[in-house]
Symmetry: C2
Subunit: 374 residues, 2 copies
């Protein structure tokens, strides 16, 4: 069974198809490929698994494909790797009308999207996400980019794809660790704006970990629905879209501080969300029980809830460079209640410091929160 959503952005609206076996569905691709040539960007992990299947489907509709195979990992989300894409496109004489297909996870999608945004000042772009994290988050909404040694996703563009194909079948080859990392973003939607979905996740998290196809498809569909609604309302993140960054200011600091690629993005988001929850509780909005409820779900999803001890100064430094800085003030996405997020720009530094101490200490945040609350 296939489900289709639409990201509503007037003349740049596009469909998200979610289902099993979509990599073999020639008709879905044919609708978005006007000419007889595409460039597929993928990596050394995904190419042996799915490249020939996609190429065979393209041949059915008479489309030749150029392939550009990159090294795998967040550590390669750099300007140098981006140049490998440009080199491949130019060497193969790709043109303004040649679509780029991103076949892979979030790193491939983000880099290919930025290459599409900037090659010849913009070429068409198709997302075929093969990880849970990219299916539920990064492939939808048009955020593209690369990292800079001084910060994550510092260079990029808002550039929407023409089509997103989320083939649930590809999740069968995902490692358990990456499946869990994807669940961090799934849980996020429940926390920030969809309490019924959070409750569904609390009932079904083990099914998702066991890769029950129906449960996975439901979770991907419901996540994309949430994302599409937010993106349609605020494409360029001038308001509501910022709420999708729950846990990301802290999470990016963790990823940067630990060296890109040592923590998966979803792992950083999980630990970062715990920090946001802790800070929300210190602001007096959610209860300690709420914090423990969130912690419990992350733990059941095999996600980290204790942050690495980078030291307060390094956290502040990494967060100071974050894109969510405005007029020198740190802005945080916090939880007003479980299921309702808000953007807050007047967090007292003292509370932030308490959160940084509590969430990074060796005993783990659970014990420390409880201790410090008294």
């Amino acid at each position: 069974m296939m489900q289709t959503l639409t990201v509503g952005l007037s003349d740049r609206s596009y469909p998200i198809h979610i289902g099993t076996g979509l990599l073999s569905n020639a008709a879905l691709l044919a609708a978005s490929i006007p000419r007889k040539r595409v460039a597929i960007v993928t990596n050394t992990t995904i190419a042996p698994l799915y490249l020939s299947q996609l190429q065979a489907t393209l041949r059915e509709i008479g489309v030749q494909s150029v392939e550009i195979i990159l090294p795998d990992g967040e550590v390669y989300k750099t300007g140098e790797t981006l140049n490998l894409i440009y080199d491949g496109l130019l060497t193969h004489r790709c043109e303004r009308t040649t679509p780029l297909i991103a076949l892979g996870g979030g790193v491939i999608g983000d880099m290919t999207g930025f290459a599409a945004a900037s090659f010849l000042r913009g070429v068409p772009f198709i997302q075929i996400p093969t990880t849970l994290l990219s299916q539920v988050d990064s492939s939808v909404g048009g955020k593209t980019g690369i990292n800079h040694p001084l910060g994550k996703n510092m260079i990029g563009a808002f550039y929407q794809p023409k089509l997103v194909l989320a083939d649930i079948s590809t999740l069968n080859t995902l490692s358990d660790k990456e499946l869990s990392a994807g669940l961090a973003e799934v849980i996020k939607y429940g926390l920030i704006r969809d309490l019924p979905f959070l409750e569904w996740l609390e009932r079904n998290i083990e099914k998702l970990l066991a890769r029950d196809t129906e449960a996975l498809q439901y979770a991907v569909m419901r996540s994309c629905q949430n994302k599409a609604e937010v993106v349609a309302a605020d494409e360029r993140e001038s308001g509501e879209r910022a709420l999708l960054n729950l846990g990301h200011t802290f999470g990016h600091a963790i990823e940067s501080g630990m060296g890109y690629g040592n923590w998966l993005h979803g792992e950083g988001v999980a630990a970062g969300t715990m920090m946001a929850a802790d800070l929300s509780q210190r602001m007096g909005w959610i209860s300690t029980d709420d914090v423990l409820r969130i912690r419990d779900l992350f733990l059941r999803a095999n996600l980290p809830v204790v942050s690495p001890d980078l030291g307060i100064d390094r956290y502040l430094d990494y967060m100071g460079l974050d894109k969510k800085v405005e007029g020198g003030k740190l802005r945080f996405v916090l939880l007003k209640q479980v299921g309702v997020a808000a953007l807050v720009s007047d967090v007292p530094l003292a509370l932030l410091q308490q959160t940084l101490v509590a969430c990074c200490s060796k005993g783990g945040p659970g014990t420390n929160w409880l201790h410090e609350d008294k």
Copy 2:
């Protein structure tokens, strides 16, 4: 006297102010700088001439400026130099609301514009062009980008500035060679869509070369008027905007073939426009007298009319990589008559080869055209 035009792009419309002494006009800048900080990107040639003047004007309105000073020249329009801009912005902790000001010629404007398009997925951007070429062409219309070893402007974005300040006074420090290079693009507007302006140029070219302020301001204003009309009608070059590329397919081949920076862009455009004129005549649209009329104006403007002998194969190769390729066919902007350009996609290869031979031979195109026409 100052004149103001508007580039009409609905919510992204912006003003172009043209006049003398604008670098000292604090009110003009104040309207486009919402906060107390900007980053000025300029080069080692322009910084000693105009940077302190601009910074003093900004201080009048309480705006602090970070400066990023790049090496000067087309040869530095690369990914490496772009990284110097990113590094500077991150080191100085520039934010989403910090405008970038491009102070310099086309290379500075194009690179700064692409940095603004891609830093933090887009920050505000102000153009202060200090060369004739950038005042009449590259600062208006939002084409930004860098070169790639395999082709000019291959990486970039359409990204509109918030404001263009064309200060005619800055043209006094321009070399004669660069003034002439700018005139190539000025003459282009007459050739493609404004015959009365071409006739004005034929009467006033010597005044422009003598840097008569009134004549220069008129030429910049009229050029920007033409550019603004075309950009408003076709921002992303799906149709009419392509006509602005008269001479550019050939010109880019010349620039690439000779090594970036050895021919100024305007020089390549002049020689390239002669090739387009020659080809237009071979297609039977304009007369040999028309070709000689165009040649005469370029010669009076001290611009090259004979193209370098790269050899036919290298020309075809460089042109094959050009962005104006569509479905494997070479498209050319040619002249249907003097003052009227058209996009042509069915040029016989034999005629193109004749043009390449005629325009590159040692005797110069004038003699050869006449010879081959018989």
